[in-house]
């Protein structure tokens, strides 16, 4: 079986679903037998889910509109 270090080296590609079938099988075998890596994998997946679903850093229209309006007003003045 592969070591935790080897698992970690493939972790980024595995999360992005970019490993070959053989590598995937090795990694999943490791995950089924190593609690530390399993926790790491599970919590990282949860992190990604939380982050992607959080709707963070939405730019409210009430903020973006005045910025865009200011820029457009300046451009229109410059182009007169």
């Amino acid at each position: 079986m592969i070591t935790c270090k080897e698992f970690f080296a493939e972790f980024a590609d595995y999360m992005e679903n970019q490993v070959s079938t053989e590598v995937r099988q090795e990694l999943e075998l490791h995950l089924s037998q190593c609690r530390a890596c399993h926790v790491l994998y599970d919590t990282t997946c949860k992190t990604v889910k939380i982050v992607t679903e959080s709707g963070s850093f939405e730019l409210p229209q009430s903020v973006s509109d005045p910025i865009i309006d200011r820029v457009m007003a300046r451009l229109r003045t410059d182009h007169k």
Partner: protein
Amino acid sequence: MSFLTEIRLQDKFGPFVAFQDAFGFIPNLLHAQTLLPRVIEAQAMLEKAVRLKEGAIPRVQKERILLCIAADRQDEYCLAVDSKILSSIGASDRQIDDLLSDCGNANLTPAELTSLEFCLKLARHAPSVSSEDIEALRECGFGDQEILEAVLVTALALYRCTLSVGLGPEPDFGLRKGVSTRIDSALGDTRQSLLPDAHKAALRKGPYVPAPYLSLESFSPFAVVQRSHGFIPNFFRAQTLRLDLLEAELEAIDRILLPEDVLTRVQKECILLAVSAANLNSYCVAMHCNLLRGLGMPAEEGDQIAVDHRASTLSEPDRALLDFTVKLGTRSSEFSRDDVGKLQALGFTGEQILECVVVTALNNFANTLQMGLGVEPDFEPPRVFEQNKVHLSDASRTPIEGVHAAHLVEPLPDADAGLVTQAQSGGLEAFEELVRRHSQLIYRTLTGILGNTADAQDAMQDTLLNAFKHIGAFQGRSKFSTWLVSIARNTGLQRLRRAKVFESLDEGEHDDERKHHPRQLRAWQDNPEQFHSKSEMRQLVERGISALPPNYRVVVMLRDIEQLAADDVARQLGLSVPAVKTRLLRGRLMLRDWLSPHFANSVGKAVQ
């Protein structure tokens, strides 16, 4: 004399001694490379491992494969050398003549005949090889090792033929009278089965040969690729069944690709990209595009080289270098000493021309290997070369000729294109509409770089003004949104520099994020989000992301918040895809550590 200057090397020069011992002579093909002894070493390593070493395929069969490919390509130099070598290991003149004129009567076993047919097909037109061909080999009793070796011997044959065409060595021996310089007979006529169709293209799923997983730690020669590519591509992982052969290949790459004393690495990658595209090898095109991006070339420029290097913004000499390599790599029958003369007239030195020929040979070796093993892509290819659009010219014996990279899938049209044209002619309404469409993306890029929303809102105004100022220079080679992000990125970075908290977004040595060690190893609740309100979750995430270093923050922002694909993030930030992936992982792990106290099982125990 060959096309280039030859210099005298010591008789004790290792590869010369090895060839003298193995074949009884030192081929002139080696003398033709004496300007760069390291490339002779590379060839010697490949020949020793692939051709001479006892393996799964008997030596005599390997020699037959090499000879038949040389004959098929009408390469008189290799044909004469390989006939001599085959006869030196016991084949009679009659057997050689039979092999070249009518191999059905050359006393070959059905398995030998099938493997020869496979190798010729792979050498003639690699994109048409499918898992059906591999199945045919397996039905004749071929195992994984034999298949891998057959593919490697074919790749070596193309490596040597490319060198011989590009360097024009003096013949070592005259061709015996009557020796056919081309394969005839039923064996030669595999054209019918070469014709690809949609059904066959669907069968091209690889990898054809299983390869045990090996990490960088457990196979130290991978360090060469880690250094040259920044990661271990599937191309190399697919060959771990035979570590001796893989190691020789890596040592050859170390001698050909890595030194920058003659051609630069960027020039070599451009050569590899242009010839891979002309060979319709989507895998290698994707890989070299990504490597060039890592070396600082804009993605659009790499794409342009793949489609038509003449229309790229490379310098005139570099475009001429690519004319030379594409002709040598894919239209060898048209190649002559005059092509070498053209490069010399442009000021290229003998060493540079030699290295270009060797890199072209290495490319044909790699393209053949990738197609023969059905290696799966590492990246989404920027261009997909469709199999069913490959046309073989009428009765062509060398189908690769005449096939150009024109058969490409057109990129998706940019929905912004119409508005961009209006904005470029001063249409302010069109510009305003574009800006409103992409304000969220610009804002998130700026927040990613600057780390707080107030600065991002401030920088947004500058970004929009800069975008309008420069919109005339946008040439439509990338999507408009990509271009807009690059303006936001530069505006954000300028601001950081002014505030003297600048941290480069470029790739640096400390980019080996995989070494990051997560601190929190406590399991989390099953659905952590259900214990917190939506706005609490959002605030937590925003605080966590703001606390990340800018390098990681901007990647996490674009990939996980804005949800762009990894290669789009790479393109927009001017980074390589591997760099994006490693930064993303590190950013996510830091964020995970930061969120962990909020979501960890209160009763769970930390894992040691």
